[in-house]
Amino acid sequence: MAESWIGVGPEDKFVDGLHTVAVGRRNIVVARLKGRLFAFDALCPHAQGPMERSETEGAIVSCPLHAWRFDLEAGGKELHGYRGLQVHEVKVNDGQVFLAIAS
């Protein structure tokens, strides 16, 4: 896991739901679900579906194209046994949200 933290904005910007932020050339979804912050790739590993439009159920996010389902509390594990979703570490420091983008 990369140790380089990148600031993506104040914590209160990330209200409940899904938010897309650009980090370099990548779009990352920052999600507040069940009060917790998660971050993951904006493209589904199946067919590059728009994960920023995921359906959510607790900490499970589901791609709207074909419903690959990813458990964010299990590191992005796909629940049918397919490829997992790339998740990224999130931390909050002094009211600012930081991501450590995995390569």
Partner: protein, 312 residues
């Protein structure tokens, strides 16, 4: 985005996966993703999402094709959704992306033909330019008509009296209806009865826009009064809606592939119909319990899925 007023894509696709897995024959194989080292396939059968509830239909399609020496690869699962669902929910950007993924997936296999068994899929693919793809896309009934001479060689008499149900709302459905009649007329001894009330509504019968109950009753009452052994339907969606009528009218419901398979002496079972005719979700859950346990499904969740998929 999904709203509270409609089911989520996830709940619909999970029902397709869950109930599809429970009803699929052990020897049914299809690809959800094309393996990197997959051989090119001259013929691809596209299995629509809802057809997973009636898996004997694609199984028969494959066996019928094998009978005349045509190998095919089946692509199915929600992973190969045509986008009809997204279209229905007016998520047109998702529809466009989904159908493009499916069509490009077919193209990677470099097929000569892609055949579908679902009229909705036919419609979506056509609307999104499948005609410009380097493969030909048709309903599977076109393929059976194309190879009818080869099929005839293997046909044996089927001593049944049938009424044919069909749809005619557009040119594609009219062609499917003609194809069904051409195929059925080729089967020795099969008696096709003249019926006045066998026309279905819209593109096909389905959960959201089913054949009205009064029309359905009229069709089956007429079939019974004509002394028909069966009402034969062209699509999996019609089959799903009408199976239950067998209980009330004593007239069997068959997909057109069933009749063709009988003629070609291909044995088959009909798990959807077997479950639907139990006429009780508790009985279905009990009947499927070994497979529910095998797959590790949550009983409450799978019961709701079975109710949606089988008792719609």
């Amino acid at each position: 985005m999904a709203s509270d007023q409609r089911p989520s894509y996830s709940s619909i696709f999970e029902t397709v996966r869950g109930v599809g897995n429970l009803l699929a024959p052990e020897d049914f194989t299809y690809y959800t993703e094309i393996p990197i080292d997959a051989p090119e396939s001259q013929l691809v059968v596209h299995l629509s999402c809802m057809a997973h509830y009636t898996p004997h239909i694609p199984v028969l399609a494959q066996k019928i094709l094998q009978k005349i020496g045509l190998d095919c690869l089946i692509l199915g699962g929600p992973e190969n959704c045509c986008g009809e669902l997204h279209k229905h929910f007016k998520d047109h950007d998702l529809e466009k992306q989904t159908v493009k993924i499916a069509m490009n997936g077919f193209r990677r296999l470099k097929p000569r033909k892609v055949v579908s068994i679902c009229p909705d899929c036919d419609g979506v693919f056509s609307a999104h330019g499948v005609g410009r793809m380097p493969y030909q896309h048709t309903n599977i009934s076109d393929l059976f008509v194309e190879y009818l001479d080869r099929l005839k060689v293997h046909m044996r008499p089927v001593n049944m009296r049938i009424v044919t149900h069909f749809h005619t709302i557009n040119a594609a459905r009219q062609r499917d209806a003609r194809n069904m009649m051409t195929i059925l007329h080729a089967i020795p001894s099969l008696q096709i009865l003249e019926a006045e009330h066998a026309l279905g509504p819209g593109i096909h019968c389905q959960t959201l826009h089913p054949m009205p109950v009064a029309d359905q009753e009229r069709m089956f009452a007429e079939a019974r009064d004509l002394g028909a052994d069966a009402v034969v339907v062209p699509y999996h969606s019609c089959y799903r809606q009408h199976c239950k009528m067998q209980l009330k009218y004593g007239v069997a419901v068959h997909h057109m592939f069933n009749i063709l398979a009988m003629s070609l002496t291909i044995p088959f079972s009909e798990p959807f119909k077997e479950m639907r005719l139990l006429d009780n979700v508790d009985a279905v859950v009990e009947a499927l319990r070994p497979r529910i346990t095998q797959h590790g499904y949550d009983e409450k969740v799978i019961r709701a899925q079975i109710t949606r998929a089988i008792f719609c």
